[in-house]
């Protein structure tokens, strides 16, 4: 039930809709953006961060919750683990059954390697499955990889690693073609032309989509392909620590059955971490759009093994999470709603910004509108939100557009009696994406020998802020890349040396030295929502 205050405000939104229909909303200048980020973006709030005392990134700040996990207590300490008799033996071990892990598995299998994929929940229970908006690729006449490069660089505050970004944009059309040939149903015109739209921060319409089930359509196709190839998929099994060989190269992982707690040893010639993001760590108390298993496990494993992180202090807050109703609080309202023309409107019915600024700027401006200017709409849970004026979409593009282009959104709200075709919806920023992660080179390998990383667990591709549609893309481009290179590397290794967990002991010693021993168990594996 909408509150009276909401109903009153909706009247104001309706009253201003006509004049807003074709309004040209000014984009902010570089200086204005800088100022608003500094004042309102959660990444700029010192209270949310702590400085690492040990490990490869010692001296750098990361979100407090992540800091505690990176410096947490290993789950293998004091456990009796038989490294001499591995339960699994494979060439390429892939950790994580999302888009990156599945793409890697397909390519490593294609290369003729023995592959095994372990995943914490089921394959496809992953952020990839939830991506709605789409995937970028410069494949239209008026566009080019170079144009894509500039957009992503600007979005990333010019901190993207050039060689990684080059790979992302040049391989983008190849990735789309690969997916299409696997059977992914992209939105197309009758003549085969891809239907593409803008996303925040793009200068060309290069967002490809599969309705608003883009990630789901990609993920389920990849999953089907993994199954068709009979690649062993070990569900409900988490990697809880990497294993090294006597030369310090990564050579497997300790796994834990999520249901029985039993531990297994997997030996591998190369390992790919594809464990995704960290939304479920709820940085600064934000709700999240992420899946249940997004707890930054891969970062913890890699960090203990000596791999440095890059930009781990940059988090993406998606500007439009659900602010109301409470049942879906924090869930994502895809950026496509704004791409299709819905404006952000405050309690008085005023469109307070151009809704297609980059995500960090948009989120910060919404926070300012609510916190500083007091123009947010209060919600019954004590929070607030601003309107996303969805009825504008059908006015602009015709009746039926919402059902055709964003059916998942329509369905989600209809469950709670809200028809977004007829009334605006209330949104507020939600914790969405881990911009940073484990540092890699263009071949996908981290600074630790034989440890490859792909997907949201990587840092550097997107600089300090990722543009919409570049993540699904990196999952495919760098997932395939890691799969190919990890397979090629595995082929150069005849026999794996003696397995050891000594790096875990040394890390523990470092923690003791810094007076940090006895921290919380990590990786976290799952958040705890059980009422106590």
């Amino acid at each position: 039930m909408l509150t009276n205050e909401m109903l009153e405000s909706i009247k104001k939104v309706e009253a201003t809709r006509d004049e807003r229909m074709h309004a040209e909303l000014r984009k902010m200048t570089a200086e204005e953006k800088e100022a608003i980020l500094n004042a309102f973006h959660p990444d700029y709030k010192d209270e949310g961060f702590e400085v690492l005392q040990v490990g490869p990134n010692k001296g750098e700040k990361v979100p407090t919750e992540l800091c505690h996990l990176l410096q947490g207590t290993s789950r293998v300490l004091g456990k009796d683990i038989d490294l001499e008799n591995p339960d699994y033996d494979t060439d390429v071990l892939i950790i994580g059954g999302g888009g990156a892990g599945s793409s890697a598995a397909i390519e490593a299998d294609e290369a003729g390697c023995k592959v095994m994929l372990v995943t914490k929940l089921r394959i496809g229970d992953a952020n990839t499955m939830m991506a709605e908006g789409g995937i970028q690729a410069a494949d239209k006449e008026n566009d080019s990889p170079a144009q894509h490069y500039i957009d992503a660089m600007g979005g990333g505050h010019f901190c993207n690693k050039p060689e990684l970004l080059r790979k992302l944009v040049c391989d983008a059309p190849i990735a789309i073609k690969w997916l299409n040939e696997l059977g992914v149903m992209f939105d197309k015109e009758e003549d085969g032309t891809m239907v593409t739209t803008h996303g925040g921060g793009t200068s060309r319409k290069r967002m490809h989509a599969c309705k608003d089930y883009s990630g789901a359509e990609i993920m389920r196709t990849l999953r089907d392909e993994v199954w068709n190839r009979k690649i062993p998929v070990i569900d409900y099994t988490a990697a809880i620590e990497l294993i090294k060989d006597d030369k310090g190269a990564v050579a497997g992982a300790v796994l834990q059955n999520m249901e029985t707690g039993e531990l297994y040893v997997a030996r591998a010639k190369t390992v790919i971490i594809a464990t995704g993001g960290a939304g479920r760590l709820h940085y600064q108390g934000f709700p999240t759009s992420n899946h249940y298993g997004a707890t930054a496990d891969g970062l913890v494993l890699a960090y203990r093994a000596g791999a440095p992180l890059l930009y781990a202090d940059t988090i993406q807050y998606h500007p439009t999470g659900v602010a109301y109703p409470s049942q879906i609080f924090g869930a994502l309202v895809t950026e496509k709603v704004r791409s299709l023309g819905a404006l952000l409107v405050n309690i008085d019915g005023v469109a307070f910004m151009n809704p297609l600024e980059t995500r960090d700027v948009t989120a910060s401006t919404i926070i300012r509108e609510c916190k500083e200017r007091g123009k947010g709409v209060p919600t019954p849970d004590g929070g607030y939100g601003v309107w996303l004026d969805t009825p504008m979409i059908e006015r602009l593009h015709g009746e039926g557009t919402i059902e055709k282009r964003i059916p998942a959104m329509l369905r989600m709200y209809l469950e709670y009696g809200i028809d977004m075709r007829k009334q605006p919806i209330l949104v507020y920023p939600t914790l969405h994406y881990q911009n940073g992660g484990i540092k890699i080179e263009a071949n996908g390998m981290s600074d630790v020998e034989n440890l490859f990383v792909a997907g949201e667990a990587v840092g550097g591709i997107h600089g300090r802020n990722r543009l919409m549609g570049n993540s699904l893309l990196d999952v495919i481009v760098f997932g395939r890349n890691a799969g190919k290179n990890a397979a090629a590397k595995a082929k150069t290794i005849d026999t794996v040396g003696k397995l050891t967990l000594s790096h875990v002991d040394s890390f523990e010693k470092e923690l003791e030295g810094a007076g940090l021993a006895g921290g919380e168990l990590s990786p976290k594996l799952l958040p705890d929502y059980t009422r106590k």
Binding site: C170, L182, G183, V184, M185, K188, T221, E259, Y529
Partner: protein, 226 residues
């Protein structure tokens, strides 16, 4: 604010009092459960949380996604975190989009008795029986479109007397449609050719060498497609 309204629900037969505003998923957690199985995206996309329920006093067995369904007074709830289904293995490059492929991979679809239990069970409200009929006829485009919003929760299969695994049938149809039936994107093929031939290398190389200040200028003054 007024007192939180509570309702009585029965989780696998045992009674709990929970706030009426919760979903089945958050109500389970309120009641003291911690999920391992039966919870994935928490947002209606992954199909991990298939649930059957009955409201006390009503005869109809209902279905829903635990993460998307609000609790009600007198709700008897059982989640179905796993259900044995069938997945036929095939090589996407070897199959062709004709009727034969369904007949060989999923012959059981021809045993459909037309009861429509699948459609009634679908939490996404898809015309499940109808898309199976399209598959029977070899109309994969229609099957693909009608099944597109499927999250593979499998509730249709749980209710099917013919043992059909509907989500997998839809998956096959979508892949056939995406790969073989939908028209080719010529601009995509062209761009991929250019890239493979290295035609974009020079421009990218140049950008990679460009000093940041100049890149910033390029970025701030770039023209934006209307």
């Amino acid at each position: 604010m007024s007192e939180e309204k509570m309702v009585n629900i029965f989780i696998m037969g045992k009674k709990y009092e929970v706030p009426a505003s919760l979903t089945i998923m958050t109500a389970m957690e309120y009641a003291g459960y911690k999920y391992v199985r039966g919870c994935g995206c928490r947002n209606g996309f992954c199909g991990a949380c298939a649930t059957v329920y009955r409201i006390k006093g009503e005869f109809e067995l209902k279905t829903g996604l635990a993460c998307q369904t609000q609790v009600q007074e007198g709700m008897y709830i059982s989640q179905i975190p796993s259900f044995p289904t069938k997945k036929a293995e095939y090589d996407i490059n070897e199959v062709s989009p004709d009727q034969q492929v369904m007949m060989s991979l999923y012959p059981e679809i021809y045993s459909c008795i037309g009861c429509n239990a699948c459609t009634n069970a679908c939490p996404q409200k898809l015309p499940v029986m109808q898309y199976i009929a399209y598959a029977q006829r070899g109309d994969f485009k229609a099957c693909a479109n009608a099944s597109f919003d499927c999250v593979a929760c499998g509730l249709c299969s749980v209710r099917c007397p013919a043992g059909i695994t509907h989500p997998q049938v839809g998956e096959l149809a979508r892949r056939l449609n995406g790969k073989y039936i939908a028209p080719e994107s010529k601009h995509l093929t062209k761009r991929v050719d250019e890239i493979v031939k290295g035609e974009h290398e020079e421009m990218i190389e140049k950008l990679m060498q460009t000093p940041i200040e100049e890149l910033k200028n390029l970025y701030n003054t770039r023209d934006i497609e209307k």
